[in-house]
């Protein structure tokens, strides 16, 4: 009886010890697992944030480029148009002045009873403006920005 009891006690102790060790190891594993999960989550979060930042910092400059391209195109058009507009306006005004000047001697001739020459009064077709060279209207596709690649 005593041997059995001692044996049982020893066995029990051994089992207890082993169980305790097992439990301890199991706990540590659980903690490690949790920590692993946390680290993985953290890494994922950081990756996502990095991705987000990367996408933002790729797309916003592209957006800025697009705006700049539009502005440059508009300025280019105006740069071409304004000289032509000024020239056309001035051409019309000068021709109008010339028509008035051409009419004056004939007015005098009519009053004085001299022969009137109407050849100075002519229809005028102003020179057409040279036209505009269209700037590049092709905007960069979004795929070129390389978004989605961290």
């Amino acid at each position: 009886m005593a041997v059995a009891t001692s044996t049982a006690l020893l066995a029990g102790a051994a089992a207890t010890g082993a169980a305790a060790i097992g439990d301890s190891m199991s706990n540590k594993a659980a903690i490690k697992s949790a920590e692993k999960q946390k680290a993985a989550s953290q890494a994922f979060i950081e990756k996502q944030i990095a991705q987000a930042r990367s996408d933002i910092f790729k797309l916003f400059p592209e957006a800025q480029k697009s705006r700049q391209q539009g502005l440059d195109a508009s300025l280019s058009l105006y740069n071409q148009a304004y000289p032509q507009m000024q020239e056309t306006f001035q051409q019309g005004n000068v021709q109008a002045q010339q028509a008035l000047i051409n009419g004056l001697p004939q007015i005098q001739n009519a009053i004085m009873g001299r022969a009137v020459d109407m050849s100075g009064l002519q229809a005028v077709a102003l020179q057409q403006p040279g036209g505009l060279t269209m700037p590049n209207s092709q905007l960069a596709p979004i795929s070129d920005a390389g978004v989605g690649n961290a």
């Binding site: 097992g22 199991s26 949790a34 944030i49 930042r53 797309l59 508009s74 019309g92 009519a110 269209m134």
Partner: protein
């Protein structure tokens, strides 16, 4: 340019019956024959003749040329009528003077005779006039009658052929001559006065005629001046109108040219603005798309991270071997106790397994973050 009469015009038409109306109109224009004259000569209506006249000469009926023509024709007509009136006035006065003419002539003769009798025209004329008087039938008749009466008286008294009778006859003749001479002289003077009066009247009439014709002449003289003045005014006004039309046309032309330049400038400017706006809108749209995409992607990433972050940690189930061992031990103990109690009939233990208290520290449900 000669003035053609109605007869001239009629004769011409009779000689040229087949001439077309246009040619007739042109010839009439070239020769200064007016539509009115043609109408009067031919009897055709003035409107009809004027219409053909204008058509043949390319006259629109309005403007300077027809106006000048009308003025000139009006001047010619007026002058012709004045000349005609002057002629009529002259004829009337002439007729009036003709009524006075016998009186003036007789008066002139009587005046001459009286002047001669008075000696104003010289002794020869006086002698002749007196001889003429003596031989005048009236004096001879009166003398004859007086002599007859004297002789009859003398015959009745028996003094015929006597000296007294001769003396009486001589005295009678002298007396008769003297008495009748004065009468004759006075009568001649009366006739002469009548002639003077007629002449005065005639002179007055001629003075009136001169006045009337002078007035008509003055009026006629004013016609060319008036016509010329009217034409000059019209020509000057035409010049002014022409100048005004040129000025208006020039101004309008100038405005149109200026508007052309202005309009073309506006078209170019507006087109440029439209195209520039299209470019800017496209670029802005593209930029916004990219920004929106960046926001979406960013949100996506952050929401992913947030989702992951909000996921609870899957806790590893730590082992509970001690508990199990405890339970086993408890079970064995129980068995053993039961075995022993079977021998000693002890009641089974109703105590809870020792795990809930003995192994509590190892099974606290310790969370990952010590929660």
């Amino acid at each position: 340019m000669p003035n053609y009469t109605n007869q001239d015009i009629q004769n011409w038409f009779a000689s040229n019956p087949e001439m077309p109306a246009d040619q007739v109109a042109q010839l009439a224009y070239q020769n200064g024959v007016s539509p009115q004259q043609i109408s009067e000569a031919t009897g055709f209506g003035l409107d009809y003749v004027t219409q053909l006249y204008n058509k043949g000469n390319g006259i629109s009926g309005s403007g300077l040329n027809p106006a000048f023509q009308a003025l000139n024709q009006g001047g010619l007509d007026a002058t012709a009528r004045i000349n005609q009136t002057q002629g009529q006035v002259g004829d009337i006065y002439k007729q009036g003077l003709s009524y006075l003419d016998p009186y003036m002539q007789q008066g002139s003769q009587a005046n001459n005779l009286q002047a001669a009798l008075s000696g104003a025209m010289g002794p020869e004329a006086q002698k002749q006039a007196y001889a003429q008087y003596q031989q005048s039938p009236g004096v001879a008749f009166a003398q004859q009658e007086a002599e007859r009466a004297l002789l009859r008286n003398a015959s009745a008294t028996g003094g015929l052929g006597g000296g007294n009778t001769l003396r009486d006859l001589t005295q009678l003749a002298t007396g008769m001559y003297m008495q009748d001479y004065n009468n004759q002289f006075n009568q001649i003077g009366t006739v002469a006065d009548r002639g003077l009066s007629a002449s005065t009247t005639g002179a007055g009439l001629q003075g009136q005629q001169a006045q009337v014709q002078a007035g008509l002449g003055q009026f006629a003289a004013g016609i060319p001046m008036n016509v010329a003045g009217a034409q000059a005014g019209m020509q000057f006004q035409a010049g002014r109108d022409q100048a005004s039309a040129i000025q208006g046309t020039t101004s309008a032309l100038s405005n149109l040219i200026n508007q052309q330049g202005d309009g073309m400038t506006d078209i170019l400017g507006n087109s440029t603005t439209t195209i520039a706006t299209l470019f800017q809108n496209a670029a802005n749209g593209d930029a916004k798309s990219k920004e929106d995409l960046a926001a979406i992607l960013g949100n996506l990433s952050t929401s992913n991270a947030s989702m992951v972050g909000s996921q609870p940690i899957i806790q590893g189930q730590p082992s509970n071997m001690l508990g199990t061992v405890g339970q086993v031990a408890s079970g064995v103990g129980g068995l053993w106790a039961g075995y022993n109690s079977g021998n000693s009939a002890q009641p089974a233990s109703t105590s809870t397994p020792a795990t809930s208290s003995a192994y509590g520290p190892y099974n606290t449900g310790y969370g990952l973050y010590g929660a």
